[in-house]
Each structure stands twice: as structure tokens, then as C-alpha cells.
């Protein structure tokens, strides 16, 4: 009963269009004032201490690093490198788009940022080369979603915060699925282009590959700083994020010189505003999960599920359906923060690995970003291509279907995500 009231209230408040953070907070307050004995003081304390964790501070740093890279000409050089590598295949620029998105995703933690950084340069080029607009938009919108699967990833940090899982393990676990999904998307692109006879580029001479690699190497090095730094134990994930922010700053301003010192405060301000928004959602989501825990809701749900003798297969199916449904109306960070504390205890009781669950949720969020009505990637892509959301929805479907197939693989084949961290001895 309590559960129904809490969620009913939350959903009702959300549907009025007010910020998600405010609806979370108001739900908690209403409940506290009317229905429970939890002392207000302990709630006030949560408001202060809810985000007092060093791991959470990785989020602003990764956002800052991503913003420097987006402005700093890193994307442009990565596209040139990707084009030199795979441009001669069928659907040349399209496959370059997938590869460039995967590379950029490995230095940035956000999907929409990847779509913008790669799409705004590559899409016009594709159209000029005679690709149909739909094809280009479809490739970039879906490949951009790699941004949150390939580490670093802001959604994974959110999951780690909500469930006390290790950020490092999650990052490493995202590597193999990220590469597999990129390959699958690339294959679909190649197949469609081959069947429709889309243009390809002349094979780039090896010298050209080397040159573009050297130019993009400064950006690619960031992958080594983040992954190598965390895996090698040189930095904590948060420190790695701060290092990559400083590194991205140096590369954009002093090496590539695509960003002037004068623009830096603006980049800082934008990153700060975006981080503040996410941190504010976290604060209120922590409050919300505190309320749920003090009402024993996740535990009760877990016990109920166990009593029903649910099989793991069915449970995972239900989780996927629930997350995809939520992905229809909300953005990834909020979903992860609200849903993860609910799903997590049940999953643990059913013997599902926490890291596997994290990767599964992240892939779900990816799918959610590419389909209407609230697919952020779609909106960003529509801003770049001037295509309507409906038309884009049609454009993305071959790749979206691929992602759904991939989601099934990730869900029911845990070794895909758990193999690498196990081999590396991280878990």
C-alpha cells in the first residue's frame, strides 16, 4: 500500500512536467509530513551528506573533460583517422561514423555529446557524398549511444553510486560489450550500404592512415590515461576523471589550439551547470531511496519476488521491459538512480552479478536514448539534421533492432561483460 502511494505520487508529480529532481524531493517530503515517523532531522542530514562521496565527484570531472574534447577539435581528428582506416569499405563514411563514435565514446562519458561531436561534422560530409540523409542520421544517432557503454561513462558512475558497486570494475566490464556492439552496428551499416550500393572512398594510402593516427593520437591517449590509470591502480576513477579533464584542456588549448583560452570559462560554466543538474538529481534520488529503504520497500519486493519462485530468465526479462518502458519518458541518469536501488536487492538474491546488472542497465539506457518520445540522441540528431522526430524514428530502426538483439545477448550471456574484469583479476 505504502509502495503504491509513494510511486503513484511520484509518477503523478513527474507527469506535470516539473523537474524530476523536484518531484522526487516533493514525494519524500509529502510522505514524511503525513505518513511516517522518520525524524525530519535524519532527512535534513541526508540532504547534506547525500552526495558527500568522492566517487560521485567523477561526474563533474568527466563532463568537463568531455566538453573540452567536444570543443577542442578531437572529434574532427578522430573522424579523419576512422575514415582513413575503414573509408574504403562499403558505406565508407557510415562505417567511419561508427568507428569515430566508438573512439570518441572512449574519451567522453555521454551519448548526446558523442552524437553532436561526430554528427555535426560527419553528417554534412555524408550528404555531400550522396548518402541518403536517413542513412546517415540513423548511423550516427545509434552509434552515439556507445558513449555511455564504452568507458568512461556517466551512467555507470550513477549506477555505482546507487548500488555501491566498483566504478573501476564497471568501466572494465563495459569494454568488451562496447566493442561487440560497435562491430554489430558497423556490420549492419556495411550490409545496408552494400545492398543499396552506397558510395565508398578510395583506399587511403598507409601513409595517410599513419598521419591521421599521429594527429588523433593526443586524443586517443586519453583512453590509456583513464582505463590504464584505473586498471593499473595509479588513480581512483575520480582522480582519473580529473586528470583527463586537465589533459583534455591542455590538448584542446595548447596542442590542437582549436579552443582559445578565452572560451575556457564558458566551457567551465556549461560543465558546472550540467554537473549541478545531475548532482541535484542525485541528492534527491538519495533522499528518495533513503525513504524507500526506511519503509523496507526494496526488501519487501525482493522477498515477494523470491516467494513467487521467479526464474532468473523471467526476472531479467521483466527488468528489461521495465527499463525500456521507463526509457520512454525519462533520461538515463534519473532512471538509473531511481530503479537501481529497487532492482539491485532482488537481483542479488537471485544470484545475478552486480557488475553484469550494471552493464545490462547501461545497454537498456542506450536503447532508450535512441527511440521516441524522449530519446535524447534523437533530439540532438534532429537538431543537427533538421529532420523531424518521426522521420528519424524510421531512420534508426535497422540499428535499433540490432541494439535490441545485442541487449538480449548481454542480458542472457553474462560472460560477455564479466570475462574481461575476471581475466584481469579485478573481481
Amino acid at each position: 500500500m505504502t509502495t503504491a502511494i509513494i510511486f503513484g505520487l511520484l509518477i503523478a508529480l513527474m507527469l506535470t512536467g516539473m523537474p524530476i529532481s523536484i518531484s522526487l524531493g516533493l514525494t519524500v517530503l509529502t510522505f514524511l509530513f503525513t505518513m511516517t515517523q522518520v525524524p525530519i532531522e535524519s532527512v535534513a542530514l541526508k540532504l547534506f551528506t547525500g552526495i558527500e562521496k568522492f566517487e560521485i565527484m567523477a561526474i563533474p570531472f568527466f563532463i568537463l573533460a568531455g566538453n573540452f574534447l567536444t570543443h577542442g577539435g578531437v572529434a574532427r581528428r578522430m573522424i579523419a583517422f576512422a575514415t582513413a582506416c575503414v573509408g574504403h569499405l562499403h558505406g565508407g563514411l557510415g562505417i567511419s561514423g561508427v568507428l569515430a563514435c566508438a573512439l570518441f565514446a572512449a574519451v567522453s562519458g555521454s551519448s548526446p555529446a558523442t552524437v553532436v561531436a561526430i554528427g555535426s561534422i560527419l553528417l554534412p560530409a555524408m550528404i555531400a557524398q550522396g548518402f541518403p540523409k536517413r542513412f546517415g542520421a540513423g548511423v550516427i544517432t545509434t552509434s552515439g549511444a556507445l558513449g555511455i557503454l564504452i568507458p568512461p561513462s556517466i551512467v555507470m558512475v550513477m549506477y555505482a553510486v546507487a548500488t555501491n558497486t566498483s566504478v573501476g570494475q564497471l568501466f572494465i566490464a563495459g569494454v568488451v560489450p562496447g566493442i561487440v556492439l560497435a562491430t554489430m552496428l558497423g556490420f549492419v551499416t556495411w550490409y545496408l550500404a552494400w545492398r543499396n550500393g552506397y558510395p565508398r572512398l578510395p583506399r587511403a594510402p598507409f601513409k595517410e592512415v599513419l598521419r591521421t593516427f599521429r594527429e588523433s593520437a593526443w586524443g586517443l591517449l586519453l583512453i590509456i590515461i583513464v582505463i590504464g590509470g584505473i586498471y593499473g591502480g595509479f588513480f581512483t576513477p575520480t582522480e582519473a576523471a580529473a586528470m583527463s579533464a586537465v589533459y583534455a584542456f591542455v590538448v584542446s588549448v595548447f596542442i590542437y589550439k582549436d579552443l582559445t583560452l578565452k572560451q575556457v570559462p564558458k566551457v567551465l560554466l556549461d560543465s558546472a551547470a550540467l554537473s549541478a543538474m545531475l548532482l541535484y538529481i542525485i541528492t534527491n534520488a538519495v533522499l528518495f531511496s533513503f525513504l524507500m529503504t526506511s519503509e523496507n520497500i526494496p526488501q519487501a519486493m525482493a522477498n515477494w519476488m523470491i516467494e513467487q519462485n521467479l526464474s532468473v530468465i523471467f526476472f531479467l526479462l521483466a527488468v528489461n521491459a521495465l527499463l525500456l518502458l521507463a526509457g520512454n519518458v525519462m533520461e538515463p541518469s534519473s532512471i538509473t538512480l531511481i530503479m537501481a536501488p529497487l532492482i539491485f536487492p532482488i537481483a542479488i538474491k537471485l544470484g545475478i552479478n552486480p557488475v553484469h546488472l550494471g552493464i545490462l542497465m547501461t545497454v537498456n539506457m542506450e536503447v532508450g536514448m535512441c527511440h521516441p518520445p524522449v530519446g535524447l540522441n534523437l533530439y540532438v540528431a534532429s537538431g543537427i539534421t533538421h529532420m523531424g522526430i518521426t522521420e528519424l524514428t524510421v531512420a534508426v530502426w535497422p540499428w535499433l533492432l540490432t541494439m535490441l538483439v545485442f541487449l538480449v545477448i548481454v542480458t542472457y550471456w553474462p560472460p560477455l561483460s564479466l570475462w574481461l574484469p575476471r581475466v584481469l583479476g579485478m573481481m
Binding site: M14, L15, T16, G17, M18, P19, I20, I22, S23, L26, L29, E41, A44, L45, F48, I51, E52, K53, F54, M57, F61, L64, N67, T70, H71, R76, I79, A80, P112, A113, A117, A125, I127, A128, E208, F235, T238, E239, A242, V246, D258, K266, V267, L268, L269, S271, A272, A273, S275, A276, M277, L279, Y280, M330, E331, V374, V380, I384, T385, H386
Partner: protein
């Protein structure tokens, strides 16, 4: 005039906090590795510096940034909501819901701010200090009531403007700061025709 100043103060503060916190952690990490290297003279000097408080300070800086930045976010419309339902309503009802949402925001932040003041008041009479920096806790946590009241004020300000002009800042999904999307895709495509140099920023 006062409002303009407040606007700028907000922006300066969060810009500064973002930059300073990044530098701080960067310096702390570099310090940790440099002081482990046996460079004569430098090592002794570095070992006299103790940067163990960096992590704590970074957390507090980001908390202040989050609180003030959240208020800045209300003014610039960065807080995301679920607007699928209200977008299909008639204009009149949509307007009512938006005003309701903004006022709800003001109420929530107002209440939280008041919690904060009461909490700080109690803390002020204790001797609690933070673990590493030994700052008085009431000072550290002051960001919460300040930020929350500021946010409350911003919600009311936005609400007033909305009633008066019918405009309010909202998250723009179609645009990510910094990359200006092409207004004319054809011209842009021609410009980007130069494959290898990839056209540069437009």
C-alpha cells in the same frame, strides 16, 4: 542592477569552483607521484607539503558548486522533466501545469532551505569540524540553505516572467552548447566536402 550582479556572481562562483576543484585534484595526484621520486632537494620540499585534505576540499567545493549551480540551472532551464503529457494538452492547461511545476519547485526549495537554516543553527552551537581541514561544519554546510533559497528565488522569478511574457527557459534537447549546428545543411555539406581537412568548426 542588484539582480544583474547576482546573476554574474552565480556564474563566476560556479565557474571558479569547477576550475579550481579540477586543478586541486590534479595537483594532489601529481604531488603524490612526484614526492615518491627521489629527486634531491625537490623531494624533501614536496614531503613537507601535506595535501591529504585535497579530496575533502574537492567534495565541499563541488557541493557548493552543485547547490549554486542548481539555482543557475533554474534560470537557464537545465533541469529536465517529463513533458510528454503536458505537451499534448491545450495551451491553457499546459500553462497551468507549468506554473504549478514552477511553484512546486519554489515550495520544495523553500522548505529545504528552512530545514537547512535550522540544521545550521544547531550545528553552530556544536564544536563539529570536518575530518581533514578542520573547518567548522556549519560553514561547510552553509551552501545548502544559501543554494536552496537562491533556487527558490529563481523559481519564483521564472514563474513571474512566465506569467508576464509566456516564455520560460527550458532544456533544449536539440542543441548542445558549443557546437553550433548548421542552419543551412546544403551549404554546410559543400563546405565539408573537403574530406581530409573535414571543414573545421562552422
Amino acid at each position: 542592477m542588484v539582480l544583474k550582479f547576482l546573476d554574474h556572481l552565480e556564474e563566476w562562483l560556479i565557474t571558479f569552483l569547477m576550475g579550481a576543484a579540477t586543478l586541486l585534484i590534479f595537483v594532489a595526484v601529481i604531488h603524490r607521484y612526484l614526492s615518491g621520486m627521489a629527486i634531491p632537494g625537490v623531494q624533501d620540499f614536496l614531503l613537507t607539503l601535506n595535501l591529504s585534505w585535497a579530496q575533502e576540499l574537492c567534495i565541499y567545493m563541488f557541493i557548493w558548486m552543485a547547490k549554486i549551480g542548481a539555482a543557475y540551472g533554474v534560470r537557464t532551464g537545465i533541469h529536465v522533466g517529463v513533458d510528454v503529457l503536458i505537451n499534448v494538452l491545450s495551451d491553457q492547461w499546459r500553462k497551468r501545469f507549468i506554473i504549478f511545476g514552477l511553484l512546486a519547485g519554489a515550495v520544495f526549495t523553500g522548505i529545504v532551505g528552512t530545514f537547512g537554516v535550522r540544521f545550521i543553527w544547531e550545528l553552530y552551537h556544536t564544536e563539529q569540524v570536518s575530518a581533514d581541514l578542520e573547518l567548522p561544519m556549519w560553514l561547510v554546510y552553509m551552501g545548502l540553505p544559501i543554494g536552496s533559497y537562491l533556487m527558490c528565488f529563481r523559481f519564483l522569478q521564472v514563474c513571474y516572467q512566465f506569467i508576464k511574457t509566456g516564455h520560460f527557459p527550458r532544456p533544449d534537447h536539440g542543441k548542445v552548447e558549443g557546437i553550433e549546428t548548421e542552419t543551412d545543411p546544403i551549404a554546410a555539406a559543400i563546405e565539408a566536402d573537403d574530406q581530409i581537412r573535414m571543414g573545421g568548426k562552422s
